[in-house]
Every structure is written in structure tokens, then in C-alpha cells.
């Protein structure tokens, strides 16, 4: 941010490596003198985030020993994280690519409403899921088109999409909460059916994260995303179709919103225009706390997911401890600051 070069002259501490893997290898090579396990751990990226998460876990274990570490609580945390988690994956792409997507929550709401209209529900659960995904992708494509070909600022284009998608969702649903019909309970089963103790939707979440990681780190699309976000002019000169790529990033984010819509339908058994309120802030915050630069060109999926887990665990801890919301808010603010400062320290001590 401000004063990167500052006194140390060295890498802005908040910048994570572009390629997670490379950096690990590099780090490992750089310190051949201390091959101990401890130093290995010390070299890991996202150390601050892991430490913050660990601290939170310790707090959980101390304050509510009987509840926090139970498997059902962990499942519950993962299930809670999965909706925003899926959205966060798409958001990570968009932000690395130099943009921002404020419309995620609203697009998810719209997709959930569209998929739960009686007309759609008549075709069964598979069509509902496809419908949600198509609606999400379509909305993302439209934002992307406005941004890359209409050359609108992402903030404004996706803000317009936010407002319009919420309006449309309200209109389609007539502002009612639309229940998933009993015929289509296969959707709800995603939340209630468990495999190896985990609800199906947690697997969806994991799958999206894994695919996101692979696409970002192992495909030309992913690598070009860094170029488009980090130095669009260089990307253009290298022959990358920056506009089309940008549009695809928003489509990808929309796709993730569509998947998130399926998850939220499963969890709440409804489609509603009120779903996903303020998700955009949570998702962006998770991405940024995970070390992705808001200016684009740098960031990791793992960081974003860790950032998100921190937020989810905080909320979980508060409720387990029966804290009141005001105190929760104050504590949340403090914890964010501490987590970020920890992350900074751990990065700095590495160089």
C-alpha cells in the first residue's frame, strides 16, 4: 500500500507470491542451512493467517471445550463457510485480475429466486441447479461486458448490477420467500445428506476451491489473470486479449455465484431476494485479508479461504460463548487488525 519501499527497501510485506508453489520451493531452497521442521513451518506462506486461525482455535478450546472441537461444530463451520467460500473463489480471480465484483450477493439472490420459481421447479432439481448456474454466469457476463467493452469502472458496473439484480429478484419473487418444493428435495439433500460425516455441499465447496486453485496456478487462463491484473498493458503487448479475458473473469465470478445459489437453496430450503445481503463485503474482505492485492496482479486462493475461515470461526466462537452482538462487532474489529498485523510480521520476519 502506501509506503512499500519505505525503509527496508524490500518487498511490500503484504504482497503474497503469485504462484504459491514456486514460492515454497524457492523458500525451501533459500534456507538450506536450517532444514528443521520448525523452520519449514516458519517459511510457509500465509503463516500469519494460520497462526491467527490457530489462536482462535485455542480460544475456542479454552472457552467452550465441550462444544468447539466437536466434529459437528466443525462441520457446521464448514457448511457455513461454503456459500461465501464458493463466491470467494470467484472474487479472488476477479481481484487478481485487477477488478472487483460488488454484485455477488445480489446475483446469488437472483439465481436462487430464478431457480425456485414454480416454472423452473416444474423441471426438477437438475434443471434448477443448471438454471441457477446459468443465471449467475449470465449476470457475470453482462457485468464483464460492460466493464471490458463498455469500459465502465468495475466498481460502478457491478454496483449497478447489484442494484438491478436485487430489484429483479424482488420482482420475480414478488418479494416472497420461495420454498423448494418437496418434489425437488434433492436440492435440499445436498445439505442434509452426509458422506463420511460431511454434508454434500461441503464437498461442492472443496471441489470449487480445488478447481479454482488448479485453474489459477496450472492453466494459461490463471497465469494470464495475473498478467491482466498486474500489468494490463504488458498483457496486451504480449498478445493477450485483455478485454475478453476480463469479461471471462466476471463470468467466472457469476458462475461461482450460481453455484453458491444452489448451496444456499440447499441450506435454507428457499430462494429469496434477501439472500446474500452484504456478501460482497465479506467476500472482498476475505480475499484481501488473505493477501490478495486490491490493485490486482497478486494473490492466492488458499489465502482467501483462510481469510474466510477466520471470519467464520470468529462468528462461531462468539455465538458459542453467547457474546452479544455489539461486543462481537468490537471484538471482530480488533481481531481483524491483529490478524493482519500478525500476517505482516510473519512475512517480514522471513526476509
Amino acid at each position: 500500500m502506501t509506503d512499500a519501499r519505505a525503509t527496508g527497501g524490500t518487498p511490500p510485506s503484504t504482497q503474497p507470491p503469485a504462484d504459491e508453489h514456486t514460492r515454497v520451493e524457492e523458500q525451501a531452497r533459500a534456507v538450506p542451512a536450517q532444514p528443521g521442521v520448525l523452520s519449514r513451518v516458519g517459511q510457509a506462506r500465509h503463516l500469519g493467517l494460520v497462526v491467527a486461525l490457530a489462536l482462535l482455535a485455542v480460544v475456542g478450546l479454552v472457552t467452550t471445550p465441550e462444544n468447539f472441537a466437536t466434529s459437528s461444530n466443525l462441520v457446521s463451520i464448514l457448511a457455513l463457510a461454503s456459500t461465501i467460500g464458493v463466491i470467494t473463489v470467484g472474487m479472488t480471480f476477479v481481484i487478481i485480475g485487477g477488478g472487483i465484483d460488488l454484485s455477488v450477493g445480489a446475483v446469488m439472490a437472483l439465481a436462487s429466486v430464478w431457480a425456485t420459481t414454480l416454472a423452473t421447479q416444474a423441471y426438477g432439481p437438475v434443471v434448477m441447479a443448471i438454471c441457477a448456474i446459468l443465471v449467475g454466469t449470465g449476470a457475470g457476463l453482462l457485468s464483464g461486458f460492460l466493464i471490458s467493452y463498455g469500459r465502465m469502472v468495475p466498481f460502478i458496473a457491478t454496483l449497478a448490477m447489484l442494484v438491478a439484480a436485487r430489484g429483479l429478484a424482488q420482482r420475480m419473487s414478488d418479494r416472497r420467500t420461495q420454498l423448494v418444493q418437496p418434489d425437488n428435495s434433492a436440492i435440499v439433500d445436498l445439505s442434509t445428506t452426509r458422506v463420511l460425516g460431511l454434508p454434500l455441499l461441503v464437498y461442492i465447496f472443496a471441489l470449487v476451491v480445488a478447481i479454482g486453485w488448479i485453474v489459477l496456478n496450472r492453466t494459461t487462463f490463471g497465469r494470464r489473470t495475473y498478467a491482466v491484473g498486474g500489468n494490463p498493458e504488458a498483457a496486451r503487448l504480449a498478445g493477450i486479449n485483455v478485454r475478453r479475458h476480463t469479461m471471462m473473469l466476471y463470468a467466472l465470478s457469476g458462475l461461482c455465484c450460481g453455484i453458491a445459489a444452489v448451496i444456499i437453496m440447499a441450506r435454507t430450503t428457499t430462494g429469496s431476494s434477501t439472500h446474500g445481503d452484504l456478501y460482497e463485503l465479506d467476500a472482498i474482505a476475505a480475499v484481501i485479508i488473505g493477501g490478495t492485492l486490491l490493485t490486482g496482479g497478486r494473490g492466492t486462493i488458499i489465502g482467501s479461504i483462510l481469510g474466510l475461515l477466520i471470519f467464520t470461526v470468529i462468528t462461531n466462537l462468539f455465538i458459542l460463548n453467547g457474546l452479544n452482538t455489539s461486543d462481537q462487532l468490537i471484538a471482530k474489529g480488533l481481531i481483524i487488525v491483529i490478524a493482519v498485523l500478525l500476517q505482516r510480521r510473519s512475512l517480514e520476519s522471513r526476509t
Partner: protein
């Protein structure tokens, strides 16, 4: 031999500037064709058109016997034209290998083949004499020179018939330039043509076959033989007048011995970068720092300036100790820095030339924080004129200026106030011959007015010709100090490369 590339009557109009006004260029296969011209003559614009990054307003391009019109960079690359741009165009967040293959990655259905790419990148780097660079290293951690090498590797990674190099040597040190020339000779031996842009005339003479000279967006001469055209002819073609590549006369040795000390640096150390550096600069003295790229010169300068915090040692300016780590304090005490990378370290690209000039001395035109805009713009106009910044309109955004003129704008910034000490890091990088002479004169004049100057330059002749006293730096240590007149280029090169010649 038939021409590989023929450009005829190329015209390019930017808002308010006709950058190119009917330029012709012929390049033959297997030759090194040099493009010369003053700052702002239109060299970069011409090669951007050739690379498909700009569209010409008029004119024709024939490449390999066919009429072509490149709709975008990809089209030019596909036809076999690779370009190294003047402003480095790398992505900091990606690895060396990924930068080299950006846009033409080796991939199977979209999945990158990283091993293969790293191997190929290693080979390319090896060809450039840098087998030690690891392809997985992130480009953001490389020095300017390292980036230049990656940029070169990228140009080589394409299967090309023509490579364009826009000032590739600007960020390179002497031995690196040798490497570059070796690669260029390899290429031409295989029949690849090279378009080479540089402001260093001696390079042109060494590597070039033919020369095309641009002046004010027009072709002043086409296809002169590079070795046989006298320098004076080239210079007068470029500038329209005769400018000798000379340094201003300097005062007799020892004439500063009794002047008060402006700067005293003692035992300055920044671990890993430089150790125990001590130096003094007296009023009116120009002290040069010679050394290899990466020898820590820039960091010494930045530390003296307060932009970095030393771990030991102290800096005293005109008797007053300079607190470390505060540039605003240093500026207030009377220092000025023209940093090495003008784009990222010096310029406010979106602002006008005038504002770039006045930003450091703003308080001088302000009372209680209130800017006197008349006074400010008058000063900007005066300074822009003093350095002959072209086009002579200080209200233009600095981003639309050519590289050399941008450098002048940075320089002008420190003429604003009464400075005691100026730190000049590569002040003539990318500056043309004519302007160089002017800058040298300005620097000397400042010194004569009593300003102390610390000069860093990768061009040894510049250090030797301009400075009164020279410090030679190797691996972060001062290994030699003497009057500039007691040294010659080969001795300095011996010293700075001694032991590192491997």
C-alpha cells in the same frame, strides 16, 4: 539482398502531437539496423506501430514481401516480429519463465507445462549468458538489469525473423552489453534482422550495419553505413546542428580542497547491500560513483537521501546530521534526488509536466499552505525552458512525453530550490546526445554555483568526464578513490570487474 521490412510514409497522430509525419524504414534480413534520433523524435512510436501496439494513421508496411497491417500485437508476433519495449513490460507477479512465455505458453488444453517452460526458459537465459537465473524466480524481485534480460529472453522465445530492441542497453552495465552483442551477432548470423535503438553512439558503431535517423517525426536519413558515417554527421542529422559529445570544462584539481564540506558520510552500512562507506563532497564538487550494476550504488544514494535506513554510520549535511529514514527532512535540509527509475520512482504520470517539476519545491510557492499558482506556473515554464523540454508545453501530461524528456522533467524538479546537494542516479539514462550535453552543462553550472553533486552512472566515460573525483565500488565496498583525471576507462573497468569477471 531484398528488404525484409519496408515501411513507407508512416504517419501517427496523437492528440495534439504529430509523432510521426511520413517515416520510411527499410530493414534487410540478417542486418543490425540502428534507429537514431533525439528524445521525442518518434523512435518508440515507430516501433510500436511495427509491433502492432499502435495503428498508423497513414502509410504502408511490407514484411517479407507481403503487405501487412497488424491489428494487434499478436498479429505482429505471428508474422515473426518480436519487440523489446523501452518501458519494461513485465508482470511482477509472475515467474521469469511465465513472463518469457506470456501469451504463447506451452500448454496442453489450457494446462501449462511448467517443467517444459522452465527448461526452455533456462536455455534462453543461458544463451544470454545468465544460466544462473532460476526460471521460477518471481520477476518482481529482479533488478532493472535482471528484468531487461528477461525481456530479452522473451523476444528470443518467439520464432522470429525480426527483433526490435528499444534501448535495450539503457539498464545494462558494460559487460552485460557485451553479452547482448554476442546474442545479436548469433541472431544475425542466422539471418534474423535486428532493429536497434540506442542513444549510445559508440554502441551503434560497434554492432550496427546501417543507420536510419529520425528527426521530429520525419526520416532525416535512411540506411547510412553505421561504421563509415562520421559521428559529427550523425549528430547533426539528429539535432540539425553540430553538437560535440563533450563535457564541460572542470576546475583544476584541488581547487575544492578548501571549500566547506557539503556532505560527509561515515561508515554507512546496510547489511547485504554495502558496508562501511565513507565519503565527503565539498561545495562545488562533483563526485562520481562507478561500479557494476548491482554493486549497491543506488542503495548508497538512497540511504544518504534518507529513503532507506542504514544499520550503522551517519550522514552529515553541511554540518548538520541528517536523521535517517525521512526524505522530507532531507529535502528540507537541502538535498535532492533524481532516482534511477523515473517511471516508478520519480514521475506522477497522470500529472502535467509543470506539476511534476514543482512538486518537490511546492512550499516555495506557498504561503501557509496556500499555493501561489502564478508564481508556480511561471517557475515551471522557466525551468522547462531551461532544460529545453519538448514539446515546450508544461501543461501536457508527463505521460505523453518521450523517455528522455521525462528524464529532463525529473531533473528540472531539483533546479527549483536552492539545493546544497544533488544526488543523481543515472541522470542521462535514455537521454539523447544533444540533451546530454545540455544536462552536463547544467550539472557543472550547478556545481560552479556551489552545489555538491553525487553522480551515479553506468557509463564509465560519463563518470570520468563529468566528475571531479571518482569512487569505485565493488560488492558494496569502496575499493578506490582518486581524482577523475588520474583514471582512464580501462583502469576503472579492471577495478570494478576484478574477480567478478567470471
Amino acid at each position: 539482398m531484398s528488404d525484409l521490412l519496408v515501411m513507407r510514409g508512416i504517419v501517427k497522430q496523437f492528440p495534439g502531437v504529430r509523432a510521426l509525419d511520413g517515416v520510411d524504414l527499410d530493414v534487410r534480413a540478417g542486418e543490425v539496423h540502428c534507429l537514431l534520433g533525439q528524445n521525442g523524435a518518434g523512435k518508440s512510436t515507430l516501433i510500436k506501430i511495427l509491433a502492432g501496439a499502435h495503428q498508423p494513421d497513414e502509410g504502408t508496411i511490407t514484411f517479407g514481401g507481403e503487405d501487412v497491417r497488424f491489428s494487434g500485437p499478436i498479429a505482429a508476433i505471428k508474422s515473426g516480429i518480436a519487440t523489446m519495449y523501452q518501458e519494461l513490460d513485465l508482470v511482477d507477479g509472475l515467474s521469469i519463465a511465465e513472463n518469457i512465455f506470456l501469451g504463447h505458453e506451452q500448454a496442453t488444453i489450457g494446462f501449462t507445462r511448467r517443467g517444459e517452460m522452465n527448461k526452455a526458459a533456462s536455455e534462453l537465459l543461458g544463451r544470454l549468458g545468465h544460466g544462473e537465473m532460476r526460471p521460477a524466480t518471481e520477476v518482481g524481485r529482479l533488478s532493472a538489469a535482471g528484468k531487461q534480460i528477461v525481456s530479452m529472453a522473451r523476444a528470443l522465445s518467439h520464432d522470429v525473423r525480426l527483433i526490435v530492441m528499444d534501448e535495450p542497453s539503457a539498464a545494462l552495465a558494460h559487460d552485460e552489453v557485451g553479452n547482448l552483442f554476442r546474442v545479436i551477432r548469433d541472431l544475425t548470423a542466422q539471418g534474423v534482422a535486428v532493429v536497434y535503438i540506442s542513444h549510445r553512439l559508440e554502441e551503434i558503431r560497434e554492432i550496427g550495419d546501417r543507420v536510419t535517423v529520425l528527426k521530429d517525426g520525419r526520416t532525416a536519413a535512411v540506411g547510412l553505413p553505421a561504421r563509415d558515417t562520421p559521428t559529427s554527421t550523425v549528430v547533426s542529422l539528429m539535432t540539425g546542428r553540430d553538437v560535440a559529445y563533450v563535457f564541460p570544462p572542470r576546475p583544476d584539481p584541488g581547487s575544492h580542497d578548501n571549500s566547506p564540506e557539503v556532505l560527509k558520510v561515515e561508515g554507512l552500512t546496510l547489511p547485504g547491500r554495502f558496508t562501511d562507506v565513507s565519503l565527503t563532497i565539498r561545495e562545488g564538487e562533483i563526485v562520481g560513483l562507478a561500479g557494476l550494476v548491482g554493486s549497491g550504488r543506488s542503495e548508497i544514494v538512497e540511504t544518504v537521501y534518507g529513503a532507506r535506513r542504514a544499520s550503522a554510520g551517519q550522514v552529515v549535511l553541511a554540518g548538520e546530521p541528517v536523521p535517517p529514514g525521512s526524505t522530507s527532512r532531507s529535502v528540507r535540509l537541502g538535498m535532492g534526488l533524481a532516482p534511477e527509475e523515473r517511471k516508478s520512482q520519480a514521475l506522477l504520470m497522470n500529472e502535467s509536466v509543470a506539476r511534476n517539476i514543482t512538486i518537490a519545491g511546492l512550499t516555495k510557492y506557498a504561503r501557509f499552505g496556500w499555493v501561489d499558482r502564478k508564481e508556480e506556473s511561471a517557475a515551471a515554464v522557466r525551468l522547462a525552458e531551461a532544460l529545453d523540454i519538448r514539446p515546450p508545453d508544461p501543461r501536457r501530461p508527463v505521460r505523453t512525453l518521450s523517455g528522455g524528456n521525462q528524464q529532463k522533467a525529473v531533473f528540472a524538479r531539483w533546479l527549483v530550490e536552492d539545493r546544497k546537494l544533488l544526488l543523481l542516479d543515472e541522470p542521462t539514462r535514455g537521454v539523447d546526445v544533444g540533451a546530454r550535453a545540455e544536462l552536463y552543462a547544467v550539472i557543472r553550472r550547478l556545481a560552479d554555483e556551489g552545489v555538491g553533486v553525487l553522480l551515479v552512472s553506468s557509463e564509465v566515460p560519463e563518470v570520468l568526464g563529468l566528475a571531479d573525483r571518482v569512487l569505485v565500488l565493488r560488492e558494496g565496498k569502496v575499493i578506490h578513490e582518486s581524482d577523475a583525471r588520474d583514471l582512464d576507462e580501462s583502469r576503472v573497468l579492471d577495478m570494478i570487474m576484478e574477480g567478478s569477471a567470471l
